[in-house]
Each structure stands twice: as C-alpha cells, then as structure tokens.
Symmetry: C2
Subunit: 186 residues, 2 copies
Amino acid sequence: MLREDVTDAIRAAVFEELASVGFARMSIEGIARRAGVGKTAVYRRWKSKLALVLDLVSAVASQGLPAPATGSLYGDVRAVLELAAYALRHPVASQVIPDLLVEAARNPEISDAIKAALLDQQQGVAAVVVREAVARGELPGGSDPDRALDLIVGPLYWRLAVVRGDLPKGYLDDLAASAVAALRQH
Amino acid sequence: MLREDVTDAIRAAVFEELASVGFARMSIEGIARRAGVGKTAVYRRWKSKLALVLDLVSAVASQGLPAPATGSLYGDVRAVLELAAYALRHPVASQVIPDLLVEAARNPEISDAIKAALLDQQQGVAAVVVREAVARGELPGGSDPDRALDLIVGPLYWRLAVVRGDLPKGYLDDLAASAVAALRQH
DNA sequence: TTGCGACGATACGGTTGCGTTCCGTCGACA
DNA sequence: TGTCGACGGAACGCAACCGTATCGTCGCAA
C-alpha cells in the first residue's frame, strides 16, 4: 500500500544527506525535509536511521560486481581500476563510501553490510583475476588474492579518497602496469 | 595562569573522545566529562570544538616526520612502511586519522590542517626518497613523488585502515619489495 | 457515494548539546 | 592572613532531533 514514489524519494534523500553531512550527523528529520515528506512516511518504512542505511547498502550489495575477463592480467587489472575510479570519482559515492567505512569501524552492523556490499565483492573479483592469471602462467601459483587487492586498489583509493588528488590522463594505465609489476614481484 | 595539568587532561580527553565517537559526534560536554573538568575550563582555552581539534592536529604537524636515509630505495621504502604501519596499528590513531580525513572532505579548515600534519609530511618524505633513488640510479629521472607515495602507502592504508585486515609477518617486507618493483616499472 | 489507507503537517514531551553565567572552593603568592 | 584567579559544578535559555500521536486531505476501489 506504501506509495513507491515516496519510497524512492526517501531513498534518494538518504543518499544525498549521507553525502552532504555524513552518517553521524544525518537525521531522520533532515531526510524527510529533503525528500519533501513527513517523518511519518519514513518511520512507516524503516524503524531507525541504521535500518534505513543498512537497507540501502544491502541493495547495493545484491547487485553483484562483474568480474572482468579480458584475457590478460594487465587488462583485468585495468578494468578493475576503471570501475573503481568511476565509483570513487562519483561525487556522492566518493563521500558516502569513506564515510561508511569509518562508521563501520565503530558499528559491527554497518561493518558487516559494507563488507558484503563492497569488500567481499572486490575480494571475489580479485580472486578470479588472480586465479585466471595463475592459470595463464602470468602469476606464480599460490599468489594471494588479498595481497593482489591491496596492490591494485590501494594506490587508487589513497589518491582519490584519502589525498583527494586528481587523476591525470593515463594514470590508470600507469597504475595498472605498476600493479602488474608489483604482483609479479617474487 | 591556566593550569597545565588541566590543559593536558583536556587534550588527552579529546584524543580519546575523537577515537571512540569520532569528530562528528564529539561534544565539548563529553570532553569535559571525560577529562573530569568543567566545561568552563575548556571554553577558557578554546572557543569551539573545531579550534580544539585544529590545535591538536597542528601540534602533531609541527613535530615533523624524519626522512629515512638507509642508502637503498628498498630500505627507505621499508622504513616508511614501518612508520606508517606503526601509526595505523595504534588503536587511537587508526580511528582518528581516517575519521579526520573523512571530515576533511567536508571542512576546508580540517582539510588544510590534516594536509599539513600528514599528507604534506608524507609527500615531503616521498620526494626525498625518490630524489635520492634517482641520484643513486635506482629510479629513472623525472619519477613522480606523488605517484611513489600512492604506490608505497596506498596498499598499506587500504589493508589497515579500510579493510581493517591483519598484517601477517613479513608482509611489510613483501609490500616494500612490491612497491619497489612498481616504482621501477617503466 | 462511501470507506479506507497513505499522505503531509503539526504538536507533543523528552533528551542532548550549545555557549554563558554564577557560585563556592582552593592553592599560590604577597 | 588576605587577595586573586583558575577551578568544578550547577543552572540557564536556546536549538535540534528523537519517536509518537493526531489532525485533515487525497486517491482509489468497492
């Protein structure tokens, strides 16, 4: 019976509120205000701020993350970086993701949700990329997928989400080549 | 005339409060409570929560960060990683640093302070390490220090502060070798 | 036409933190 | 011994938000 357009407006408002003030400062009153909706409409759907955010994050998680299959380690790494850079340059995501990651350090429920929505997805992709590279003979057997993820995504995350620097043309290519060199090391 | 022991108690309380609830949720009342001090004592010293934190961060910045000079690129990189890992494994710092970095994305004053206290320091160290490696012939001329910092610190930050995974024995050695391989690439 | 359910709006009491003011205490110094 | 200034503590009015309740409105289906 709940009107879907209202639900969508609330969901959108949560993302905007999350991006502009962060989870800690976010209020249900603020969400309702931004969505042009009564508080009642929000409480009719979710019982708390936490439930609301967990619901949104879980929705993202269920989308799944496609594993690249370009036929080469460099190509796969480059594809992962492309996707990650796209997300981290998005104005909303680049605020929301680090914010929720920090919040996750204090709240196990958020931690679990974020892990399922982002980290597990990425680790899955990394595992596939590594496995295929090993099968191709591009990497030695027993290569650690977690280490691979550190080396591939770490530098990009550092630059875009931590230092918040720019991304010069060709930098992703360079990063991919660097990551491959690092992965091959030893 | 202000009593120094009170000032110290407040400073310590700010760090603890910052670590346990984060900047956004931190309140002056909470700080005073934790320090066992009246609100008056806090307001007598700083005019706002922001001023308080900026003062602490600036104090950290003025300490300076020693640049390693081990005589080899691998040694320097390993030393940088050791120091960074020490900081990021510290229970207080590992909460406070990511928290303030996120806050910096929304507040230019915090951004400037954090940049001066952490990022500029690290970039300075990276610049020295790269310059000396170039002089030694270990890296080609024109190597970008910012890129070097991404490749050295990025993977470690990702693992310790983002994924919040553990740090297996020997991982820093491996990371240093991987970073050197990445830096040498191209 | 009537009834129902979701809607936006408004108000409620309660809690928390803000920044300020005032109090009585206590220690240092003259 | 008296003065002075920082102290902890308590209270202030104000603002925001909590979660709930109660309005009247509106659209739809019987």
